[in-house]
Symmetry: C2
Subunit: 418 residues, 2 copies
């Protein structure tokens, strides 16, 4: 059986595909007798198969030309698999400890074969709902973000390298447009796609649509998202795109990757931690009031930014005499000036982070795609009580982000707004 | 004679080329008996031939793979001709009254054939040095800038169209890098390329290199230049890229075109008018003290921005229900919100304009390429007296641009700093 043109695989044809693909069949020692295949796609966009044999294992992810959970009525280019594979390889090269290895990519079939993240790896969001602490999470994710964002920016690279890659990732425009719609547009207008915990949050959702200052500010963030090619961002770095154990943090699913503002990734991660924080009261029960866990989440938010700041500026310091073209050594190497431009850069990035993080929070409460953190709270009234302060915090952060000087101030604001 | 691979033409081989090219030979009625050919390249980068016959005329511009005035030791891709032709066609489509028509483009030969801008068209810079008023200049150039910048931005277009063209123009990276070097880098460091009116301005040039706040601010502008794909900018819109008569304004030479910040074009034009203003005292003589002319330049600066503002926002208003994806009608069409976002957008653009304009002024006084406005003042001491206040104004504008609310305030600052 040849695979010279695209078709959607099933468990049977996948076996044929693996047999015809040495890069995959080698991983299982070419032994097809004890092969176990399990489809585990979360159902939103793609098919995901876990392939395990006694000799080895891998995951196969295949993109199909529409949104899987909706059907062919919502087409979505399967070329996203190409950009996902590109980003996995580039980010994996830069941060190998935190990105699963790609074994195989087939553009015709829109298919990536990669490392299977074996148990006890679970999706971070599920761990946050279960109240599990991950002591190395902030350390790992800040490492991943610092390395991937720094090394794909003009702080590290020449304009020639940069524009070459910017052009390549312009091809991922369909996925960018999807983000523009669901993050920066739909929540701020009447849209059939929007939903919220009704009737409790109906007025809150309406207030978002009526808030002129909020809409002015979200326009500025959208413009940065669309126009500012600052670094190769993951593009969807929420807590559902991270798999964890206590010792391991693995970033997956970068199919939204493109050259955009760094704050979009950092904000996505921190914003989703804040959502997890506000959801905890909905998960509390007699056995666990989640108070200690909420403290851990706040600590993790603080450490994520603080460690990111430390690691990112350390990379910058280390390579300041390198070939990066943003701040040439001949101009910026005087120590006090180097510190001045660095502080300015990091402050701007902090404000971008808060703005994008807030936008990502808002869309998860009044937009089309909600998060399991809240959705798993079955009592709608209780869920709304968790969502409302999260929404209010996000609105305030988005509008007043430039007044925040430190992550400590953000954490204080969260503590006060519960 | 076939032209299947690149070679530099001379007047003789150009005739053969025209004979082999119907798109050009048709323009002169295929009559080669009374053909007049004259090479008029200003000597910096390219060869430019004027071709005139009794039946018609055109201009041929050929790029060569190095900087003509320096030689093969400074290579520069001849592919710039491709981007120049692309930009001439796109800007010509959007603003046909102010861009010469392209008759023919040959990528192999890096050669553009286009309308000959017949006398009395002259380069605007030369007209400004001669003290000639152009009553329609502000009207025309604001029209050109409003139409080209608006229609190539996300205010008018979809993200899909936008990213497609952004990717294409990423290919013009060599010319972008040249700008980065000569505008945003060299003037702020010791560089063999830099020169200034020595010894008079030696300390002024050194002060530029020692000014930490100036260097902090120019880094922010450089980052916008490198990363922000806001619209298809001309990329070199100084007064040497405009040909004029009293009735006509024609923008030429967009070989630096790319998707960048709108303020880079508007600033280039206004910054060069300010340079022309400060040069006038050096051109004054007993017959003409240039006072009236200086008033005209200031009026033209005011009108350029005011008319640009009016035309640009009029286009925005006209198409606000169109397919532009920056401000969706469903979110921003409430009149007071529409005005709020528009005012914010235009204020940011105004500050970008002042910043980029100031950077372009500075580089013309302490960088590699100076302007004839000053260079034609033969007395070095007198020239320095003209250049110094221009440099001081530019430094102030670059550092304090965000404090300016209107073009009137800028003109007042110019009047006070003479």
């Amino acid at each position: 059986m040849a695979f010279t043109e695209f078709r959607t695989l099933d468990e049977k044809s996948l076996v044929e595909y693996i047999k015809a693909t040495p890069g995959l069949s080698d991983k299982i020692g070419n032994n097809f007798d004890d092969l176990k295949i399990k489809e585990v796609g979360d159902g939103n966009l793609n098919f995901v198969y876990i392939v395990v044999s006694p000799a080895g294992s891998f995951v196969v992810k295949q993109a199909i030309p529409y949104v899987r959970c909706i059907g062919e009525s919502w087409p979505l280019t399967k070329e996203r698999a190409y950009f996902e594979a590109l980003a996995l390889r580039e980010h994996g090269r830069l941060s190998p400890e935190n990105v699963p290895e790609v074994y195989h990519f087939d553009r015709t079939m829109s298919l990536v074969g990669m490392r299977y993240l074996e148990p006890p790896h679970i999706i971070l969001r599920k761990g946050l709902i279960a109240g599990i602490e991950y002591p190395l999470l902030a350390e790992h994710i800040s490492d991943y973000m610092a390395k991937t964002l720094y090394h794909t920016s003009l702080l590290y690279r020449t304009t020639t390298e940069h524009k070459h890659d910017v052009a390549e990732f312009c091809g991922n425009v369909e996925l960018c447009r999807l983000t523009e719609q669901v993050v920066f547009s739909d929540p701020y207008k009447v849209s059939d796609f929007n939903r919220c915990t009704s009737p409790y949050l109906d007025h809150d959702a309406e207030a978002v649509r009526e808030d002129d200052i909020l809409k002015l500010e979200v326009a500025e963030l959208k413009s940065k998202f669309c126009e500012r090619a600052q670094a190769l961002v993951h593009g969807d770095l929420h807590t559902g795109s991270v798999m964890v154990t206590r010792e391991s943090t693995q970033v997956i699913d970068p199919e939204f990757a493109f050259y955009g503002p760094m704050g979009f990734d950092i904000g996505a991660f921190i914003g989703n931690l804040i959502l997890a924080f506000y959801a905890q009261d909905g998960h509390a029960d007699q056995g666990n009031d989640r108070k200690t866990y909420k403290e851990w989440i706040l600590r993790t938010i603080k450490e994520t930014w603080s460690l990111f700041y430390k690691k990112f500026t350390a990379l910058w310091d280390e390579h300041k005499d390198g070939s990066g073209e943003a701040y040439l050594p001949g101009i910026y190497n005087k120590p006090e000036l180097h510190q001045l431009v660095q502080r300015k850069f990091m402050q701007d990035l902090f404000h971008d982070t808060l703005g994008f993080g807030a936008a990502k929070m808002i869309r998860r409460i009044v937009g089309v795609a909600h998060v399991e953190d809240f959705e798993s709270i079955t009592d709608a009234s209780k869920r709304a009580q968790c969502e409302r302060p999260a929404l209010n915090l996000a609105k305030m952060l988005l509008k007043e982000r430039r007044n925040f000087q430190s992550i400590d101030e953000v954490v204080s604001a969260i503590q006060q707004l519960q």
